[in-house]
């Protein structure tokens, strides 16, 4: 037993250090192997960086004042993988859509912002002032902010685009003037629907006719045409609902639109319920006669119920022609116009106070021609002629104007408007008379930041 123990101790003393040495050698070998791999990787990295440096050096020198040696005509293409469509996991991953966009550098927003300032003014006769019968009722002989608008717009995600506009303006209500802050528009557009369709949902300016969808600061004249103001009010047809457009694959351009809205328009469609919605429609086509001449034609319709639950239907036709000489940066001549026909039921009371439902068929139109011989200056004239949608009578007006645009983002307009009404009461809410109105109109508007390109 004693001998066995001695042998075991001896074996332990002799073998353990040997085993330990063998393990250490193995660990060293592994470490060396790892170092060799790392060296190979580092070498590969250096080679890749050298390659990249060569490519960068082959591209233009970013110092135009001191040109360097001529780079080779054909530089190596920069590695550029196409943007792969986002996977479901990508889409599900939490994001901060309104945070600053870090990957492209700090300071970049994920959407565009713009501010529009639109100031208008007018000078007119005292009697018109007293009657609140001018183009801007209740704000005669004043210079005021008509539309100070802050807008945010951009892609929401790969499938939709959003736009929000908040505006402040001086308004006249119940005999008082005050600055009113409110929502001008807020909507999203689904861009990737099938079969050439697109849907716009939210609170928007309806695409009825030519100018209803245009914001006040972008109008071709200082004021909105009389027929549109008479039929749809000073704000125009601005509604909450949905618009669906379809561009069929035809050899010519055709856009078909149908809209369904609450019906919140105080002049024509005030029912305000989807149980009796305001339904709109529009067909728009375009002919490019040649590179210089182009014409757009449209037909629109809207049917809904008035505030007192009576059917009202308005149909419109519009046309716009532009002549842009070859190489010009702006059109030399623009001719456009719109005609509206209204068919509505109204309640009329006789002398005894007995009400009777009657049908009112009304018509109105406007047309304007504009000449822009220089980039900074243009001049034009607009003619308006419209019946009143409910009351008897009509009015016509003529408005010559000039505009000066120091840049794309700043504009001044000066106009003169002569209006004649068949009945003085038509526009009077206070005292005095406003049958004949002469006004000098002026406008200054600016754009800060982003503003989308102007359509035709």
């Amino acid at each position: 037993m004693r001998g066995f123990v001695i042998a075991a101790v001896w074996l332990t003393i002799v073998l353990v250090p040997g085993l330990a040495a063998a393990q250490e050698a193995e660990a060293l070998r592994r470490e060396l192997e790892q170092l060799r791999r790392q060296q190979e990787q580092a070498q590969k990295l250096i080679e890749a960086l050298n390659e990249r440096l060569k490519r960068l050096e082959a591209q233009p020198v970013p110092a135009p004042a001191s040109p360097g040696p001529p780079p080779p005509a054909v530089a190596q293409p920069a590695p550029s993988a196409p943007a792969a469509p986002p996977s479901l996991i990508d889409l599900a991953r939490p994001r901060q859509p309104f945070a600053l966009y870090q990957p492209r550098g700090s300071g970049q927003l994920l959407f565009d912002m713009g501010v529009v300032g639109d100031f208008v003014g007018n000078i007119t006769q005292n009697n018109v002032d007293q009657a609140d019968g001018g183009t801007f009722p209740g704000r005669e002989n004043r210079f005021f902010p008509r539309e100070i608008e802050v807008s945010f717009f951009g892609q929401i995600d790969p499938y939709a685009r959003g736009e929000v506009r908040i505006e402040a303006a001086e308004e006249f209500e119940d005999g008082t003037r005050e600055i009113h802050l409110g929502l001008a528009e807020a909507h999203l557009t689904l861009l990737t629907l099938p079969w050439g369709t697109q849907a716009k949902l939210g609170f928007m300016r309806s695409r009825f006719g030519l100018l209803n969808q245009i914001h006040a600061h972008d109008l071709p004249q200082v004021d909105r045409p009389d027929v549109l103001v008479q039929f749809f009010g000073e704000e125009g047809l601005r509604e909450s609902g949905v618009e669906l457009t379809w561009v069929p694959p035809l050899p010519f351009y055709l856009e078909a639109l149908v809209g369904v809205f609450n019906g919140d328009n105080e002049e024509s469609f005030g029912r305000g319920s989807l149980k009796a919605p305001l339904v709109t429609g529009r067909l728009r086509t375009f002919f490019e006669l040649n590179d210089s001449n182009a014409i757009q034609l449209g037909v629109s319709g809207a049917t809904g119920e008035t505030e007192d639950r009576r059917r009202n239907t308005v149909v419109g036709l519009d046309l716009k022609y532009k002549f842009t000489p070859e190489g010009w940066r702006h059109p030399l001549l623009t001719i456009a116009g719109e005609a509206l026909y209204g068919n509505r039921l109204v309640e009329v009371f006789d002398d005894a106070g007995v009400g009777e439902e009657r049908r009112r068929e009304r018509f109105g139109w406007y047309a304007y021609a504009e000449v822009q011989p220089w980039q900074r200056w243009l001049g034009g004239v607009r003619y308006d002629n419209t019946q009143y949608p409910v009351e008897p009578g009509r009015q016509w007006a003529i408005e010559p104007y000039i505009a000066f645009m120091p840049s794309e983002f700043l504009r001044f307009r000066l106009g003169y408007k002569h209006t004649e009404r068949s009945h003085p009461f038509a526009a009077t809410s206070g005292q005095g008379s406003a049958r004949i109105v002469d006004e000098f109109l002026f406008q200054a508007s600016f754009i800060l930041g982003a503003h989308p390109a102007h359509p035709f």
Partner: protein, 307 residues
């Protein structure tokens, strides 16, 4: 009236039933580019397999486009939209919105930004605002007519074409290689031609040519525009003319869509001459494709500066 309505309804019904390709009557990849330089490069890569249209013409100011429904019609049928990027053709977004074509919306499979990976020049190093005119915060976007950048641009186009027509990738790659090889041959000749005028100073109307000038070792002394997109003030012109005289500038380069008369007057006052350049493919007669446009510019400059 009834007949007209019936005809319209029939047209719509037929149109709705037909796929876009059937209307076109062709089996090619339908590509729309924003500017004609990209049309020419796309044709070079796509060859017979593509049918390319450009929304703008070379004679137009590429910054400013009036978005016409005819653009929307082209985009409605497009499988691929190739845009320049760097804010030169940001107007195309409005046209795309009216085209109702989900394939080419921003982020879509059929959208190509040609300038991706291009190292931009004149990137502002300080805060910019509109008091400096129509500045591009990301850098100068007029890179498309720099032959040295054609490999990057055509690679982006190739990637886009291969996304919508992967079966033709090999053919696109062959076309691109052949085009770049041709361009390389021309580049050797252009470099040789420009060697004697290397280092010469020129004045431009709008900073359209900075990439081209840098490529061939020329120096842009100044611009007729006081600030980009803003018509020049008399004071600025007086200073510019004085500088041109002092520095012995022989050539003032102007785009066909800009004020050529003013360019002529300034050049005359400074003892130089104004030259209408191919600011884009198709901008002047004889600049009908990418190589021809660069050739026109090289030849014009060599003649102008050798006077």
């Amino acid at each position: 009236m009834r007949r007209i309505v019936t005809t319209i309804v029939l047209l719509l019904a037929v149109g709705a039933g037909l796929p876009g390709a059937a209307v076109e009557g062709a089996d090619k990849v339908r590509v729309v580019t924003t500017i004609p330089d990209l049309k020419s490069l796309t044709e070079a890569v796509g060859g017979d397999l593509v049918d390319v249209e450009s929304l703008m013409r070379g004679t137009q100011n590429l910054h400013e486009a009036e978005v016409r429904p005819s653009m929307m019609l082209k985009l409605r049928r497009a499988q691929l939209l190739v845009e320049n990027g760097a804010e030169l053709d940001a107007w195309v977004d409005v046209a795309v919105q009216g085209a109702n074509n989900g394939e080419i919306v921003r982020g879509g499979r059929g959208r190509v930004e040609a300038g991706r990976g291009v190292p931009l020049l004149e990137v502002p190093s300080a805060r910019v605002d509109r008091s400096m005119g129509d500045v591009h915060p990301g850098g100068n976007p007029h890179f498309s007519l720099d032959p040295g950048l054609a490999p990057i641009i055509t690679q982006n186009i190739l990637d886009g074409l291969a996304r919508v027509a992967p079966q033709h990738r090999a053919a696109f790659e062959r076309n691109r290689a052949a085009f770049l090889s041709r361009l390389d041959e021309h580049m050797g000749r252009w470099t040789k031609l420009m060697e004697p005028v290397r280092g010469a100073k020129v004045v431009v109307y709008h900073p359209d040519f900075i990439y081209f000038l840098t490529r061939f070792g020329l120096v842009q002394l100044g611009t007729v525009e006081d600030r980009p997109g803003i018509p020049p003030s008399p004071q600025h012109l007086v200073t510019l003319i004085r500088q041109m005289k002092e520095q012995g500038v022989k050539a003032l380069l102007v785009e066909p869509w800009n004020d050529v008369r003013l360019a002529n007057r300034v050049a005359e006052e400074a003892g130089a001459k104004a030259y209408v350049m191919a600011s884009a493919v198709g901008a002047v007669k004889g600049a009908d494709n990418y190589i021809a446009a660069i050739d026109y510019n090289v030849t014009t400059l060599v003649k102008a500066l050798a006077r």
